[in-house]
């Protein structure tokens, strides 16, 4: 009676745009104290006047509360996150986001605090942030952290600026930032934003940074090296101490991209490896949810002399109280207003508070077990290969290549990704790092149970098998998602690119070609 083959299809609502159902006269919210308006108008006497005031009503569609709720609920059913199934996007550390954190941060004693209210009225919050800063410094082996940076990339920019100012303050002209070819795109982008010339360092056949190549470029123009360890291949840079010495000897600094900390957290510390500056992504390693792209939260930490350069304010305490220290002698300034993305930061606080140092270490170990368990299951699967020394254990993630599959069948990594979607599983990160052809970068994190990993490996295998028997079918995927394969050319073509409904209407009216 109750056996049924595994079927999946996503909801499909063909939900109209709010413009197609809304109306500027409609509203779903009752504004507070509306009954006071006549009296207020009388007491105030005047009306807004001047040439910058408008006479018309903004042309924004409104909906009632019930319609708004339905609209977004339907859209939600056409979306997919960790709470629906695994999202093993490599480099993104898509952990489960504990529900207790969400409940706690909704407390009005957090939600309703003003960033500029007197410090004596927010001592409890400041204490939590203080502890978080101490814990993160301990985990990274750094002396101090600034909670200001709203995401990892902003941490990188802060770090790059710190490096720039550090050298400038010492009167040194160092304008080259070394970045491995396996690095995340934000690394070179951040370095460039800070005004550096980016020098690309190749990856050795061992999957680690090419020490010889590094040696050949490190020198008096070297401002620093931006590195993540384990690398985006999931491989630990086993010569990291040599790397650090080389850079330091040449007068440069080491920046640690902390996005890949998960597999080594509590086991090895960037500070001990020789890094001077570190950023962490609270929304990756410390379980704050990604929110469909953000908000995240970052921290940027530093050691020794570099502490002076950290963006301000820093959280401080004296005998009787916690406070924000704005003092800035050499600091680079501020990366954003106020203190940071408080809500995700607090989720990071709650995560560390829940697990403690020992628990964090277990998290790291489990994430590495999960990666290598997956490798064991997938290896020897026809169609995929593991580039760079397959005998090396991977850490938080692994990059496999679908190049054999492409060569044999014409089915690409991108096609495999769509075929996964079609089976109700989120795809891995594709085509990154750039040094691996047909890359599929897979990171389960510790939060996926073995069963999910097994299902994922099995599905990848089935897709490869189907590619060998019926590649056309896979090229047509996905069919079970709310829409079929999306037309990227149309999306980006100058004649059709449509970033807003406003442009859509202008196109309809022929006002834009």
């Amino acid at each position: 009676m109750s056996t049924s083959k595994k079927e999946w299809r996503q909801a499909r609502w063909s939900e109209p745009l709010v413009y197609e159902i809304g109306d500027p006269q409609k509203t779903g919210v009752i504004l507070p104290y509306l009954d006071e308006l006549p009296k207020l108008a009388e007491r105030v006497g005047a009306r807004p006047q001047g040439k910058v005031f408008r006479e018309d009503t903004p042309d924004l569609p409104g909906l009632s509360e019930v319609e708004t709720a339905r609209h977004f609920n339907r859209l939600a059913q056409m979306s997919y996150g960790v709470d629906v199934g695994p999202v093993p996007l490599g480099s993104c550390t898509m952990k489960y986001n504990p529900k207790i954190f969400e409940e706690i941060v909704r407390d009005p004693r957090i939600k309703f605090l003003h960033p500029l209210q007197d410090e004596d009225t927010v001592q409890g919050l400041l204490e939590m942030l203080y502890l978080l800063e101490r814990w993160l410094a301990e985990l990274t082996g750094m002396d101090r952290c600034s909670l200001q940076v709203p995401a990892g990339a902003a941490g990188e920019l802060a770090g790059a600026l710190m490096i720039k100012k550090y050298h400038a303050d010492r009167g040194e002209e160092r304008d080259e930032m070394l970045v491995p070819d396996s690095a995340h795109g934000t690394n070179p982008a951040s370095a460039a934003m800070a005004g550096f010339k980016v020098v690309r360092i190749p990856t050795s056949s061992r999957g680690t940074i090419d020490l010889e190549a590094l040696r050949s470029v490190a020198g008096p123009r070297t401002a620093g090296l931006m590195l993540t360890n384990p690398s985006t291949l999931g491989i630990f840079e086993d010569e990291i101490l040599e790397v650090a010495k080389l850079i330091h000897d040449s007068g440069g600094l080491l920046y640690y991209d902390g996005a890949n900390l998960n597999g080594i957290m509590g086991i090895v510390r960037p500070g001990d490896m020789g890094f001077d500056i570190v950023h962490l992504n609270i929304h990756k390693t410390f379980a704050a949810p990604h929110g469909g792209g953000g908000p995240g939260a970052g921290v940027v930490c530093a050691k020794g002399d570099l502490v002076d350069y950290l963006p301000r304010p820093l959280i401080e305490r004296d005998d009787s109280r916690y406070f924000w220290d704005y003092s800035c002698d050499k600091c680079i300034g501020s990366m954003r207003i106020f203190y940071g993305n408080i809500v995700p930061l607090l989720k990071g606080f709650l995560y560390i508070a829940s697990l403690g140092g020992k628990g964090l270490r277990e998290v790291a170990i489990q994430s590495v077990i999960n990666t290598n368990y997956f490798i064991t299951l997938i290896k020897n699967t026809k169609g995929y290969e593991l580039p760079y020394d397959p005998s090396k254990p991977r850490k938080h993630e692994v990059v496999i290549s679908a190049k054999p599959l492409l060569n044999d069948t014409g089915v690409s990594a991108g096609d495999v990704a769509k075929a996964l979607l079609d089976r109700g599983l989120h795809a891995p990160t594709m085509y990154f790092p750039l040094i691996v052809d047909e890359a599929l970068m897979i990171e389960f994190t510790e939060s996926e149970p073995l069963e999910t990993i097994e299902e994922y490996a099995k599905t990848l295998k089935e897709i490869a098998e189907q590619a060998y028997t019926n590649p056309g079918k896979i090229k047509e995927a996905p069919a079970n998602t709310s829409v079929r394969r999306v037309d990227d050319v149309y999306a980006n073509h100058p004649k059709t690119v449509t970033p807003t409904y406003r442009v859509y209407l202008k196109r309809l009216r022929g006002e834009i070609k």
Partner: protein, 462 residues
Amino acid sequence: MGSSRPIHWAPSSSDRDRSRALSVMGISDAFELYRDVPHNLILDKPPRAGFDRMLSEWELRLTVEKYLSKNTMYIDPPPFLGGGWCPHLVPALVDYIISRPEFLTAYTPYQAEINQGLMQALFEYQSLIADLVELDVVNASMYDGSTAVAEAFLMALRVTKKRKILVPEHMHPEYRRVVETWLYGKNALLVSVRYDEHTGRVSLGDLESKIDNETAAVYVENPSFLGSIEEDVEAMADAAHKKGALFIVKFEPISLGLLKPPGRYGADIAVAEGQPLGLGLNYGGPGLGIFAVRWDRKLVRQMPGRIIGLTRDAEGRRAFAMILQTREQHIRREKATSNITTNEALMAVAAAAYLTLLGGRGLRDLAQSIWLRSHYLAKRLSEIGVEAPVFESEFFKEFTTRFPKQYKAIHVELKKRGILGGLSLDRYWPEKSNECLFCVTELHSMKHIDKLVEAISEVIKE
């Protein structure tokens, strides 16, 4: 290593699952997976983080309660603190929408087909903002208002290949600090334009005298940090455009219910902090950096950030996709227009939901309510002999007030009465120690305002 029961949120960390996994892998100790890590780097004991043990949900709750009970929340009346971040209505529905697990726990929608709902929500955000500011192109968010300004400046440098940017001397001081930080790596020059002491508005004369062919952008805040609404914005736009500079306007989103949108008076880029749009206070973060640009190939190609566009699927259905990705870091690396990737997407969804709930007329009503309430406070203050507003110009929700004595002392007295007063301006300008910035919004009832005024009149008499 390992324990008989799994640790929090790591379901396979139980002894049983661990040994199953290890045996499949053919190893006996998970630490073998770290065999490539130099031995001397491995910590001999776990780091000191957290409370030295694992906490269950319940223990975590009790622990946090201790901290939370040390915070004082002001809701009745809400804070009168200004500074670009004011208490505003957060409709319960907005929180409910951004709590939907399919939105909350999604990543950036790199896989379009499985995340159409999220993408539609972001496309709607972009579209609503575009219609709010009357500029055609909007990105899916910057971190906050301050980094949106910084990115706008960086974009102006790229577009014009010039290096000078004119900013009001009374630019939001925290914004200015952020912008200076972000521009540190670029050889840029910020030049301050004076403001009129009577009106608090940017001096058009001074602006015109400082603008030159080296000018990449003219930046204005409307309303200004000190509260004045600018009048001569069209003239400023003209002045900028004449010299080939971009005109960048920072606006307050709700104020556009009453004020002309920047797109109507010549803005090339309009930026804002989206916090008023249903995001709440949250001690200052997360925010939402709103970033809108005129429809111009040259400008759009230099925009930072993610953009969602309309397209079709293989069967001709309407669909959404990330567009113009060749501007972004994951494709263009060091040549990218910005390094941003994680942004504030969920806050953009919140803002879209908020604006949808309000509708155009709701927004106008809201702006009117705020305008009336802030003017009511100013009027009542001047009735008791306090200089409010200090400037002779229109204002919207924030305005500067000057007291006969140091504001800080007054603030302390207000706090004793359960009122969180204004923002003392000596935080940024020591000479303005008698002045503060009040913010009044739709959440302040007449009673709240009266309570503040009565308390002030008591305090200044003392």
